[in-house]
């Protein structure tokens, strides 16, 4: 009986131990980011965030998900080591500079996040594994009119002038 109880405890311990093996304890990310901010003709910007994650425990095949302003994006992991990368594009990034906060969730956190979204709860109440903040500089200057429209207007003015001159000649 005592032996049976010992085996039960050992089984439960392994179960929970296995469950916590995929969770990063005390995560310490070191990250770098890139944002495209010099394309005056573009209508959206791209952001790439790369980071290396150090955990207190040994983690195998850690799956992460990023939450960027309410949009969840899967994070890709390099085959070796704990190097991760996430990227996205957005037309809102073309606008003025501001601080961006990206929250990262493990599998359990992500499922809690999805539950919160489905039940229309505040997603900020779901605790993330860790978060990173960076500043997106935005465009240094932006035309208030779309470039192809400006080109069309200029071409139309030139064509009108030429047509007028031509009609004076042909008349």
């Amino acid at each position: 009986m005592g032996f049976q109880r010992l085996i039960n405890f050992a089984f439960i311990f392994v179960l929970f131990g296995g469950a916590t093996a995929n969770t990063c304890v005390q995560p310490t990310p070191s990250f770098s980011h890139y944002t495209s901010n010099n394309e005056k003709l573009s209508q959206s910007s791209a952001v790439v965030v790369e980071f290396t994650l150090k955990c207190k425990n040994k983690v195998d095949d850690l799956l992460l998900f990023a939450d960027v302003e309410g949009t969840q994006i899967p994070v890709t992991k390099s085959p070796e080591g704990n190097n991760f990368q996430v990227s996205w594009t957005s037309s809102s990034l073309v606008q003025a500079s501001k601080m961006y906060k990206v929250r990262f969730f493990d599998e359990e956190g992500y499922s809690n996040l999805r539950k919160a979204i489905r039940s229309s709860q505040d997603i900020n109440s779901v605790k993330e594994l860790f978060q990173v903040e960076f500043k997106h500089p935005g465009l240094s200057s932006k035309l208030w009119i779309r470039s192809e429209l400006l080109a069309l207007i200029v071409a139309t003015i030139v064509f009108y002038v030429v047509c007028k001159e031509r009609s004076e000649v042909i008349a």
Binding site: L41, E148, A151, L152, A155, T156, V158, F159, V162, C163, E165, R166, V169, I170
Partner: protein, 186 residues
Amino acid sequence: MAPKQANFSKEEELLLQDFGRNLSKKSSVIFYVHAIFVSAIPLWLFNRVHQMELVDNAVLFVIGTLVSAYLISMAYKNNKFEMKHKIAQKRGEGVAAEVYSKTAESDSSKKISKKEKDERILWRKNEIAEAESMQLAVFYSNSLFLIVLILSSFYFFKNYTPMFNYMVSMVGSSAVTALLSTSSKK
């Protein structure tokens, strides 16, 4: 039916040469150079805005540029022919006044016959009409080509693949330009 007169006098041949559709070598070269230059400009646009690599799409670009250049040069030729004799008519009086004043200023002992004065007027009129009609034809055809290209490439075919966009926009714009140049106002 009376037989057609096959032999033209020297003056008639000169008139046909000056005011006919055929271009001189110099005019042809000028037109082809302008046409290739105008057809090559959109390559920068498609490379930077539509993200088409020059090396990867080299064959397509060469074909598109050559076809477009041929059609635009045809438009130049037609527009120039249409405008040349109109310009010659408009400038006739001014050219005659210029030639008469020049001959009057020259040595009065050397009398110039009326025939020679008329020839000088005709030659000068042809020279001015040739230059002005060429410039106006190039200017008009280029602006028409570019406006149709901007409309087709950035509005009508904006959501199509870049390759399809390039071929249809370039060939279509140059074809429209050539087609409109064949119209004549009576």
